[in-house]
Amino acid sequence: MSTPAHPVSLFALYRLCFVVGLFSFGGGLTAWFHREVVQVRGWMTDDEFFSGYSLAQILPGVNSTNMAVYVGQHLRGAIGSTTALIGLLSAPFVIVIAAAAVYHHLVALPGFAAIMGGVAAAAVGMLFRLGMTSARGAHRHIPSLLVLIATFIAIGIMQWPLLPVLLVLAPLSIAASWPRKADAKTTDEKSPPETSGDA
């Protein structure tokens, strides 16, 4: 297991989720979450984060809250999941109601739509960059590269529903990634050690 040596404080977890929730315009702030959780704080490894991301996408529900639940569970169990979920939703809960109350004034503000559009586009750019990080290594494993491209085309371009696409691609991709005796060792070497959590 690779949970950090000293447990992450619930307050730190709440604060991080609160800030990410506060700035998650347009829905694309997974990249910020990744930066804080993996790169800045060292709470998780890349492997742990991206496998959680896959689960959060595949399970029913809201992807961003699923991701918060996953990160919270990983760090502190049930109380961690609850803390992360409340942290992520508390600022938007207040803001969305306040905004609905003054909606007609809000849309009349000059530049409001432009600012929101710009923030959302920048968040998408961050998401693309994170997709590249997550795909790193796929080019060395042809089946993974094919699965990545097929997923993107099926969902992003053809806009097919997720469930049938997953039912076809996930078993194929998992079978292709089954550790063979020869490379079982290399996959082991890649994942666990860098998670000391002392960073």
């Binding site: 496998s51 639940v69 909606y103 432009a114 923030v119």
Partner: protein, 178 residues
């Protein structure tokens, strides 16, 4: 008790939580049907306005359900609607995450983790494309998104807040001159 608006909110919204496969966009159609046509909590026009509010404010777009709860029964309604939407899927996700982390290191765990990773990466990029399509900002949206991607490749440590501000500034500048 079935006539209590709070209970009605739970009955309508909680099942949607587990129906939202592939993200919250899957729930908008059934939500509209239930809240506008069946229960007539909001008019079709109000539904679209609330949808727009949920999109331009921070947080998941699915907080539209929070606003519908607010319309039905005030702050308490908003709270109940929010919990009804986020608790069922969160409990499921928690259970799966716990099981998942418990079996770390086994062969099948490694296979699933490595097998799902390219799917997650493909979904991430597809999600970005879909967001740009929904935002409907035209070439400017694509240009800003790709510029941010390139910038982060060059300067990986840039703070996200700065990138978001730069995106907003570029949009403001371009919209001002055009």
């Amino acid at each position: 008790m079935r006539d209590d608006p709070l209970v009605q909110l739970i009955i309508v919204i909680a099942p949607l939580s587990l129906l939202a496969i592939g993200g919250a966009s899957a729930i908008y159609a059934p939500l509209q049907q239930q809240t506008v046509d069946v229960h007539q909590w909001v008019s079709g026009r109000e539904f679209l306005e609330l949808f727009a509010v949920a999109r331009v404010t921070p947080g998941p777009g699915s907080m539209l359900t929070t606003l519908i709860g607010w319309k039905v029964a005030g702050l308490l309604g908003a709270l109940v609607a929010t919990l009804a939407l986020y608790i069922p899927c969160s409990v499921l996700c928690f259970g799966v995450a716990r099981t998942w982390n418990r079996y770390r290191g086994t062969k099948w765990h490694t296979a699933i983790q490595n097998g799902l990773r390219p799917i997650g990466a493909g979904l991430m990029i597809a999600g970005g494309v879909m967001l740009l399509r929904i935002e409907d900002s035209g070439w400017l949206g694509w240009a800003v998104a790709f510029a941010v991607t390139a910038f982060m490749t060059w300067r990986a440590t840039t703070h996200p807040m700065l990138l978001l501000a730069i995106g907003a500034a570029i949009f403001l500048a371009v919209r001002a001159v055009s």
